[in-house]
Point group: C2
Chain length 251, copies 2
């Protein structure tokens, strides 16, 4: 019998470019209560802002392709240009949404570029440039500040094929096994557990999202009960969750 608990750590002050997000988390939200076996889930926008992964629309000159896509989708051509800059491939463009493969390899709407919760209305927030590196840096800094070495997952809300709604998934990860592999192992009756390969980091990201309200400035959620997935080393990161297109039976 196990239990898993996710707890929102309350509001965080606005994070500025170059700001020390780990210090902000440790001083504002934690009160020194961090432990080694815990997982900190951080909504990516706080990470992006601290890293300056923000663009001002006024600074963008749209290409001809961006102008054309924007016209067909009734969107700001400059915003479309930002999405194109973040993408290696546009899989669909319909009903105002661009489904993109990002530079990182994520498939999501608008390449993860977002205006909501922005510092001001003329700016767009990008995904962190290397979210696994971001997670490792935050983890290392938290250790410096608190002595504890929790795992860190950076999350974003992605839509899914076949199903309505979005789920938060892991886009950056340090100190946690992203997948738990039961394939080839046997169950309680000695039968092989066949297709059981669990995306534990994505499940943790999904529940962290339910522990905070979307209208609050509450980017950080602390999870207990996942100790068996937490590791001393930083591990392979969320990039290990990406399925190569050539291997993808669901497409």
């Amino acid at each position: 019998m196990g239990s898993v608990c996710a707890r929102g750590l309350g509001p965080l002050p606005e994070v500025r470019a170059g700001g020390d997000l780990a210090e902000l988390i440790a001083s504002t939200a934690l009160g020194g209560k961090l432990c080694n076996g815990q997982l900190l889930a951080i909504a990516h926008k706080a990470v992006s802002k601290s890293e300056g992964a923000v663009v001002r629309l006024a600074d963008i000159t749209p290409s001809k392709r961006a102008e054309e896509l924007a016209a067909s989708q009734e969107r700001d051509p400059r915003a479309v240009q930002v999405v194109l800059d973040e993408s290696t491939e546009i899989l669909r463009a319909e009903r105002g949404v661009l489904i993109c493969r990002t530079r990182h390899g994520f498939v999501c709407a608008n390449a993860g570029v977002d205006s909501s919760n922005s510092v001001d209305s003329g700016t767009l927030v990008l995904l962190p440039r290397d979210p696994d590196l971001s997670a490792r840096r935050i983890r290392a800094r938290l250790r410096e500040l608190t002595g504890a070495r929790p795992a860190v997952v950076i999350t974003d809300s992605f839509g899914r094929a076949w199903r309505h709604g979005q789920s938060d998934v892991a886009i950056g990860l340090a100190g946690m096994h992203p997948l738990e592999d039961w394939r080839g192992r046997t169950d309680a009756r000695g039968m092989e557990l066949r297709a059981t390969w669990i995306a534990v980091a994505d499940a943790a990201a999904a529940i962290a999202d339910l522990a905070r309200a979307k209208d609050s400035r509450e980017p950080v959620v602390l999870l207990d009960g996942l100790e068996r997935y937490i590791s001393e080393e930083d591990g392979p990161g969320a990039v290990a969750l990406l399925r190569a297109p050539a291997e993808d039976l669901f497409l």
Copy 2:
């Protein structure tokens, strides 16, 4: 600041066809501790077995199509026939896996047909015929037995496009809003929250899976902290999570 907790309720005796699963849960696992605002997540196999949604391979005569598919995928033609019987469409057949659209409309590997944890090795467990109805029945029976009216979600592990590993999702639901819609609402700074439509029932299913070990006979997990999604009425069910193929921008 919110918190969400998932707790495995321990082993359950083997469920037989026609068995009263709700009674088994109430008597074995709960000890009268059920409350109205709670969510019970039940792995679908226990539900399928109690409903007799089980087939014996010895009773199956494979069709020519099943024989051909089985030959190309190196599988038992009778098992392939069972998968075909459960599907309205085979989207892919590769590396021993059939990606199917089930009679319910779910897209998943092998139409959710599973041999692991079976009562004996010559049988296959199907998905419940109408998982939303199953959830409503279990909810009603739990109310009779305990006086409490928790929500009930029936779960299965599905693979995903673009990402490795599986996540548990809601395949049946009663008494919980499957989706939380923030689209058009504004955030703490008055900015519109654009693409924010959260699949809360799937997030709950995903975390429930982490609160039990895959090799244990522990199908039931109790979730607290989701009171704001729990409803007196049974609601639209998990079928509301299905995206119509014609609307699916991710395909």
